[in-house]
């Protein structure tokens, strides 16, 4: 399969690989996919007091396009608010990486991972407010 240069670049030099402390109240974790499906994406975001994403990390078990999709969104997420983050669409990811039709699901998975991470963070923060 022919990969685009951008996919190859992210695959060869993935950005923001790693993990954040998932118990940190400022950190939201999204884990989507399943090993049997061939992709598992773990995306973590950390927000500052203003609710702006200041760090993002990922680990991905998946094909080159899945790795590139998650690597790309960690770059995009930094500096965004949670609302802005939730607006990232899979089509934008697919377009940026020039994914072929059979790899569109990788961008869908990345979008799902963002939503899951944002939801995790929001539930933590809601819980915190309720507790307070």
């Amino acid at each position: 399969m022919a990969y685009s240069d951008k996919v190859l670049d992210h695959y060869e030099n993935p950005r923001n690989v790693g993990s954040l402390d998932k118990n940190d109240p400022q950190v939201g974790t999204g884990m989507v996919g399943a090993p049997a499906c061939g992709d598992v994406m773990k995306l973590q975001i950390k927000v500052n007091e203003q609710g702006i994403i200041e760090d993002a990390k990922f680990k991905t078990y998946g094909c080159g396009s899945a790795i590139a999709s998650s690597s790309l969104v960690t770059e995009w997420l930094k500096g965004k608010s949670l609302d802005q983050a939730a607006e990232i669409k899979n089509s934008a990811i697919a377009e940026e990486l020039a994914l072929p039709p059979v790899k569109i699901h990788c961008s869908v998975l990345a979008e799902d991972a963002i939503k899951a991470a944002v939801a995790d963070l929001q539930s933590k923060q809601t819980g915190k407010k309720e507790a307070a």
């Binding site: 989507v32 399943a34 998946g62 080159g64 799902d112």
Partner: protein, 404 residues
């Protein structure tokens, strides 16, 4: 150490043509270009003589009579001719066929086609080591079983089935026995004087011969008959019509001659290389060898690397040309049906690599491969959330995955 990349370790997919084979072929593409069926002029006679010499060489490698060798366009055609040809010819006896889940697609799909036209089939599941339990084979035989097809050497995991034992069962039960030996020639000794086999498929391009040529062994005593699949000029005693590609036949003959003469030494050398590769790769954590290691050709090593995904693994190791356990169809990534039949999980099937070693593999190439695999597996595991969970002691089977 000079190693040219990519390193070819995919000899089970196809082998390079041995330079000696190419040399034997060239005169028959240039000056001796006659059609072997043209009996009326000397151009045809030269071609015919070369074809018959090659037939003898193929027969000698497997200790058969040259008259038992039928040329085909390759093992796929041999398998189709043997299975469909015998099943149809002997369908008066019954319409049940036995084969194995780990057979090559050309066997499985030919049997499936027979199912569409009214035959019944049993697809035996091999044991987790890839080998067939003889008792299970025996139990599958029915009074209406007409044909059994079992490959000698598996293309993905290299295990060698006990053809003699299976053949004896077939003989005892009056079942025609076909063996796909495309992956066996030049790797294991085949003696058709002794083996109770009725039909056997061969390929040239898996044994350092050219692509586009193969053969089918059709036993004469007792005589096995077949319904032809390709009809026409009546070449190959009517078993297979079509103008024979003389240079390709000559190439197959020469390739099989070399295999017969050099097999013993070559296998010993290849076994040393395979053992070196195995030892090196077993340094890596969480690797699993697929298929029995003892009853196996030395050329094959099939290993699953846990917690890395198959396609990214193939991307990572592009400096070596190998096959993966993921058959990439146009739309989806299917895990190898052979590994699944062994009971491997989809994940382990996906993350498997078949290294197949051959005539031109060097020790330097094996060493390079070991180092490459070590560093790439490290890198991919660094990226893998599954590896992280495994190291944290999480049982991945207990995780509720949000399947999508």
């Amino acid at each position: 150490m000079t190693v040219h990349t990519p390193i070819y370790l995919d000899y089970s997919a196809t082998t390079p043509v041995d330079p000696r084979v190419a040399e034997a072929m060239i005169p028959f593409i240039t000056e001796h270009f006659g059609n072997p069926a043209s009996r009326s002029h000397s151009f045809g006679w030269t071609a015919e003589k070369a074809v018959e010499n090659a037939r003898e060489e193929v027969a000698r490698l497997v200790n058969a009579d040259p008259r038992e060798i039928v040329w085909t366009s390759g093992a796929t055609e041999s398998n189709n001719l043997a299975i469909k040809g015998a099943a149809h010819f002997y369908s008066g006896k019954g319409k049940h066929i036995i084969t194995v889940q780990t057979e090559h697609k050309a066997v499985i799909d030919a049997v499936r086609e027979l199912e569409r036209v009214g035959f019944e089939a049993t697809y035996l599941q091999p044991e987790p080591d890839g080998l067939i339990d003889i008792e299970k084979f025996k139990a599958a035989i029915r009074p209406d079983t007409v044909l059994a097809s079992v490959m000698m050497v598996n293309n993905e995991i290299g295990v060698i089935q006990d053809i003699e034992a299976i053949g004896n069962l077939c003989r005892a039960n009056n079942v025609i026995f076909h063996v796909d030996a495309a992956q066996a020639t030049g790797k294991v000794t085949i003696d058709l004087e002794k083996l109770p086999v009725d039909l056997m498929s061969f390929s040239a391009h898996k044994t350092y011969g050219p692509k586009g040529i193969g053969a089918l062994y059709v036993r004469r005593k007792p005589r096995i008959r077949l319904e032809a699949q390709i009809h026409g000029g009546g070449q190959e005693r009517g078993f297979r019509s079509g103008t024979l590609a003389t240079h390709q036949i000559v190439g197959m003959g020469e390739a099989f001659r070399i295999a017969r003469e050099e097999m013993e030494l070559e296998n010993a050398r290849i076994r040393r290389l395979r053992d070196r590769l195995l030892t090196g790769l077993q340094d890596i954590e969480e690797v699993y060898v697929n298929g029995d290691l003892k009853q196996r050709v030395p050329h094959n090593l099939n290993i699953s690397f846990n917690y890395v995904e198959g396609e990214s693994l193939i991307m990572a190791v592009k400096d070596i040309a190998v096959s993966s356990g993921s058959a990439c169809t146009s739309a989806s990534l299917e895990p190898s049906y052979v590994l699944r039949a062994l009971g491997r999980s989809d994940e382990l099937a996906h993350s498997s690599i078949r290294f197949s070693i051959g005539r031109f593999t060097t020790e330097e190439e094996v060493d390079y491969t070991i180092e490459l695999m070590k560093s790439k597996i490290d890198k991919l595991r660094e990226l893998s959330p599954l590896w992280e969970m495994y190291q944290d002691g999480i049982d991945l089977n207990s995780v509720q995955w949000a399947a999508h």
